[in-house]
Amino acid sequence: MMRFGLTLALLFGFLLAVIGCLFFILSVDISSQQRVLLDALLAQRAPPLALLAMLILLALGIGLKKLYQHYLIPLAQLSEDVVLLTANSAHRALPQGAREIRALIDKFNTLAASHQTLQDHVQARIEQANRALAEEKNRLAALMSELAQSVLVCNLEGRILLYNTRATQLLETTHDAAGTTIGLGRSVFGVIERGLIVHALEQIQHQRQQTDEQLTRPASDFVTTLANGQIVRAHMVPVLDNADALNGFVLTLEDITRNVATDSRRDALLHSLTQDTRAALANIRAAVETMRQFPDMNDAKRDQFTAIIDDESQRLSQQIERAEQGQSEHPGSRWQLEEMRGTDLIALLKRRIESRSVRIDTLATIDATLWLKLDSYALTQSLAYLVQRIAGEFNVSELHFGLQRAERLAHLDLSWSGSPLPLETLQAWENTALPLSAGKRLLTLSAVIAGLDGESVYLYHPAQRTSCYRILLPIAEPQAALDIRLKQPGRPEFYDFDLFHQSGQTAALDQGLLSRLSYTVFDTETTGLQPAAGDEIISIGALRIVNSRLLAQENFDQLVQPGRKLSAESSAIHGINDAMLHGQPTIESILPQFHRFAEDTVLVAHNAAFDMRFLQMKEERTGIRFTQPVLDTLLLSQVIHPHQEQHTLEAIATRLGVDIVGRHTALGDAIVTAEVFLKMIPLLAEKGIFTLGDAREAEQQTPYARIHY
């Protein structure tokens, strides 16, 4: 209406200017006689002229108003209708305005109808495809749930895309309403050491680069300890995209805690039965043989040897007894080992250790046929430490790796030139405890080598002034079972793997695309509208959106004991009564769970300021702060449809074609809000609002943004 007034004023001004000009033209350079005549004429005709002027002005005003009513306003609404149509294909424009405009609206509606038909058709096809997809998915889910192993599918950032119930059972450490530690969109690094995963991925990348190894299926194995102390063996295989590039991985986990315990006991038993009895046997045998070889020895000597035999036989009996009772002196906590090609190990070492100051060369003496039994992660980490010390203390900038076969052993050689390394220094370095990755394991190089059943030797050649640190390792038989020819690249085709393309969530959240972020959409029911006056939350409902997909299963739905009586008015709205809240947990115990549920996501709510106010009221008491960004569907609706007056959740839902189900329960409203929010994302994009930062900025420009609770 402002624009209408302004246009009218301009028109009137223009008219006055024309009349003024007319007078000016009439009265300029005329004689005084003519002027008198003119003045008289004007004075005489003034009333009809004034009337005429009034009439003209009135006519202009009315004309302009009609023009607005019948042409301009309907056109402006029509353009909003076009936008609405893109969100809700059932939307039609109301016929209004002038004949031509009505005709246009008519054409628009015809077009909309054919658009809707097309849309429905496409929708039907999509649903058909989705059904097929869902079927595949269910088949996969059924298959996965039958597996004895736990399976996790993750993208390269370590975000979990898919998992089975076994995985939940194995990995869950806490039991509360907020669910388990794993869930779609959560990070796998919460349960498995990051360093290990990165290491395994590097190994797979390396295997894929080996052109001669097209026939084998790249994979990596490792063993790790979970937070709850269980030991699991992990088998990692890559997931490839259309361009055959690595974009994720599948982890199969197997609980081997019991196996490891049994293995360790068996190892320890074997150890004591070999090494310890060898010594005792040697003493007996030497004594017996000496006595037989020298039958003429004197009695005193003979008694001495008999005493040895007696003593050692008793020691032997005790050892066997101890072994039987399982009380071995050698705690054999052997780490589980993986089999690996020696060349792959060298490549891994080279990549891990090489830096700007240290160059790593491989020697010509690399035996490509060697397979080793290793914990490659621990070995590379601890060797990297050794190289770093050697390079630092002896000013060595170039080292060489060699790998060769020596009968049934492999020699892994690290050589460099310079002054000899004192034995004591080397021993100190070998025995320095290194935190491997997240610090769950503390290992020394010598322990790592011992764990591989290996030995290390330091050799110095004075003539060439070269040093060689040699690790002797047992050779493993090559794994023939791995040479399985892949007919086609094995890529699963049956799930929503869009998350693969999701960028990290913590860094530069504001630059994250709205369609790619993870959200927790929530709603609360309260005893009343005034948090400051003591009103309390009685219910929280929430669900998550990951990658523009609503995850209805992973929801949060909790009634809360408010510690005060409900008013009849509020009960009438939400249908919750005092009896239902009896025995429910208090907000102090629920907020931490909800906080965990919403971790690492953007919060979304309708009229978010209201719900946030209730959450913030509890900050001091519970110490729980919700610091993540918040989006408000109320404000976003104003951004999208500034000309619409109604921005209630119902009005928006109706406008956007979202079914309203289960309103006025916290979870029901959260679901409606989430569906509305999903519909809004493409509409926001039309307005040039793509990122979280864009959306938050646009929200702040709306008039409602200034309301505070």
Partner: protein
């Protein structure tokens, strides 16, 4: 002049046999109970051959062997390692460090004496 043999072992039950056998074979014998003593005896006793156990207090047999090989004065000293650590990898390590022979326990005393005699006649 008879050859000198240094026996390095911390178990008296084997030392008694070894000492007797070496004396009967006509060698002059000295005993060391740990790694440090062994290195001290290398200087004071100046043996021609060392019977060296691996598991020793203070310094293990591998270290002692390495120290002996580091010193060019002891180039001609023969080292025979005697150990209950009988895995291939340990044998390999002993030989890599410069031991002339690595004998795993239990061993035949005849073979041991033959080995010692052979090594010392090589030297002469």
């Amino acid at each position: 002049m008879s050859h000198k043999v240094l026996i390095v072992d911390d178990e008296p039950n084997i030392v008694i046999s070894l000492e007797f056998l070496m004396q009967q074979s006509g060698y002059e014998v000295a005993i060391a109970r740990d790694g440090e003593q062994a290195l001290a005896q290398m200087v004071s006793f100046q043996p021609d051959l060392v019977l060296l156990d691996v598991m020793l207090p203070l310094r293990n047999g591998f270290e002692v062997c390495q120290k002996i090989r580091e010193n060019s004065l002891w180039n001609r000293v023969k080292v025979v390692m005697l150990s209950a650590k009988g895995r291939e990898i340990e044998v390999s390590k002993g030989l890599a460090l410069g031991a002339d022979a690595y004998i795993t326990k239990p061993f035949s005393t005849k073979d041991l004496i033959a080995q010692v005699q052979r090594l010392l006649s090589d030297r002469a």
